[in-house]
Symmetry: C2
Subunit: 428 residues, 2 copies
């Protein structure tokens, strides 16, 4: 980890620069694959699954038989853990469902919002070394709470054409309607365009590598919404001397093991204390199974020593971290000053892993500085809020001068007329 002591404000932007994502270069590849899916449907999915995943898939949709097998392959201990996590995630996300918010004017009209689940949503679960069944929970639980009517899931098959049983079991538990063995650009293309087997959806959710990210960006041009732009995962830890260096080191490493492009930044005001953390990182690293990945991530990581806690929080807001851990006394007082972050973990006993899995918050969060403009996944992401208005004749009479004056001044005379004609009506 690189250590920087008291950098000048002018240097902050450069210091906090993230590695550039190269999605633009992939746009052309994505367009070609999308065009082929549009033309050849499932056949194109088969071709690219063979090309990228080196496996031939006879049947894209996971069968009931495969789901039954998965049930017998997942241990009861893991099932119980997933059920407990699901309970917390459900409880927290259920609180996010909108209350009725009606504006009743005494003049004779009322306006309100109602939420409707997005009808068809597609969840993407990446493949790779680790089976991300936790992401199935994070996406499928709010989708169901929101009232989405069709929830489908795409995930790449392994070399033997199978999907990890924990992913299948969790998807079943959460009520996912259909699961397809297709990944990468071709999965996003299938959900964007629809094929004989994979239905077109209204919105696509889920993490992925740069190929998936580029494909999701392209999907938008075909009228499909996406959850948010994605980048490598990251954590920023703000710690004072009240923090336990062993815990902090463990949190930095748990972020670093995600991938070699993970971002890990520690902010503190105590240079000597920071050294203890650095030593702890080295010592804990050697015991980690994924130490190769973690040490590569640590090469890009930083310890930044600043003058005071105010400055630390300013830097937090400039960086806008996906995950923010506040290991400091009086973290409660810091909360109102946090303007830009995805998810915040408070105190010595709130490791990022708690939110990654089980406490109830969502782990699909804005990376790459997007926390300045985007929320993490929550119920809002799965609904549309429709406005309604009911106006009585009396109400329209009261609103009429306002509407008619404004419409006239915007030169929209038919807008004015639509009110006037209703007022004339009584005279007839």
């Amino acid at each position: 980890m690189e250590k920087i002591v008291n950098p000048q404000r002018e240097e902050w932007a450069a210091l906090l620069t993230r590695p550039q994502l190269k999605t633009a270069d992939l746009a052309k590849v994505c367009k070609e694959i999308f065009a082929e899916i549009q033309k050849d449907g499932d056949r194109a999915l088969g071709k690219y699954t063979w090309f990228f995943d080196q496996v031939r898939i006879d049947r894209l949709e996971v069968s009931e038989q495969e789901c039954l097998e998965a049930d017998s392959q997942v241990s009861e201990v893991l099932k119980q853990a997933i059920r407990t996590a699901k309970r917390n995630i459900e409880a927290f996300h259920a609180l996010q469902c909108m209350d009725r918010n009606e504006y009743v004017s005494s003049e004779g009209f009322r306006c309100w919002q109602e939420a409707r689940g997005i009808e068809k949503v597609g969840l993407y679960i990446p493949g790779g070394s680790a089976p991300l069944f936790s992401t199935v929970l994070m996406l499928a639980v709010p989708a169901k709470l929101a009232g989405c009517q069709e929830v489908i899931l795409c995930t790449p098959p392994d070399r033997s054409g199978k999907i990890h049983p924990a992913i299948l079991w969790t998807a079943q538990l959460c009520g996912v309607h259909k699961i397809f063995k297709v990944g990468g650009i071709q999965a996003i293309g299938a959900m964007t365009l629809g094929t004989e087997t994979v239905p077109r959806v209204n919105k696509i959710f889920g993490p992925g590598n740069q190929f998936v990210t580029a494909a999701k960006q392209l999907a938008v041009h075909y009228g499909v919404a996406i959850d948010m732009p994605a980048g490598p995962s990251e954590v920023m830890v703000v710690a004072d001397a009240s923090a336990n260096p062993r815990f902090v080191a463990a949190d930095l490493l748990s972020q670093a093991e995600h991938g070699p492009d993970s971002q890990v930044i520690l902010l503190t005001i105590d240079s000597r204390w920071a050294e203890t953390v650095e030593q702890e990182v080295v010592s804990q690293l050697s015991e980690l199974p994924r130490r190769d990945i973690a040490s590569r991530a640590l090469e890009n990581s930083k310890v930044i020593v600043l003058a005071d806690m105010e400055e630390c929080l300013d830097m937090v807001n400039e960086y806008a971290p996906e995950h923010l851990i506040l290991c400091m006394e009086n973290y409660i007082e810091a909360i109102p000053k946090i303007k830009n972050a995805g998810s915040v973990f408070l105190g010595n006993y709130a490791p990022e892993s708690a939110g990654d899995y089980a406490s109830g918050t969502n782990h699909t969060l804005p990376t790459n500085g997007y926390a300045k403009a985007y929320s993490g996944i929550n119920i809002d992401a799965f609904v549309k809020k429709i406005t309604f208005q009911e106006i009585t004749r009396k109400g329209l009479v009261a609103l009429a001068p306002t509407i008619m004056t404004m419409a006239e001044n915007e030169c929209l005379y038919a807008h004015r007329r639509a009110v006037e004609i209703r007022l004339e009506d009584q005279k007839i």
Copy 2:
């Protein structure tokens, strides 16, 4: 208006097709202008303002003097109308601010969300024949309620280098911080990249033509969020014999006058009643100042006669209209069946103009079928919802088996370790 009686379900998709938007062709032009803004800043803005708007601007930012002049140029009647509309818009949008939603587990942890206004937002107000001061209200009011700290506005100058006084006055009233005389692709580029004068923002809002839309789509690739994709405005009216044909005709025309590409669709179950509406449209059209625009829009418009109200509501959901007017008995019973729409107007006395200006709902709404996945503008669009979690040692002990089991099964051992190390601590 074309009339279609009892179309087969298979024909619906073709029948409801919207005109294709051609933003892809504009991507290249946008990229070039963005690159020039990145290189030359304000100078590039001046160049393109001259090129597109045929006017030379010495000072991009509107001066205090110009704001004072605007104050004297707007009539007291219009000011009063804008103030009344603002009061309703504020009242309705204030109700959308999130309540505290805390999940407190008896096991010793709690999770909650807090909303934070997006720090820097840019509002775009199109130029053209009509001064869209109502759109200033619709964007600036929720931005201020949400707590956005910097609210800037870009709008193209007219040939004499001025901005319509009603736009300036409304922006002042709503507390917009800075107003810039720049429009089109160059305005979106300036807010995306920042120049010497125009600050870079986190999110860009507002309607615009195909150039603005293409530029907003490009802005996303530079890390700036946008409100939603835009297309021509549209209304769908569902009416039964209880509806007043004169009112319905006036509503259809008020949509048609927006532009020649506006979409206007009437659904009904009574073919003879529809004829009365068609006659009313013809007769009212002749009296409209904007009849040329409206009649061109009507060429693409449709009257569709269906078997029953159920079928009408199915077609509503398939089309997902920006504006939906339900002029029917028992419209209250229809509400739960509305799945896809931007904003819904209920009964004979709720013309679209009410929501366009004054009742309190927002008029920045999803067009082009985007109501299937997007909400209209509301407070959510101006905030990020950050999750927080506080976990006691006892809470972590309770969560530990769940987190550790799941982390291990996802092969993320450092995630597991971050919990384990905290539990070991007591033993020391």
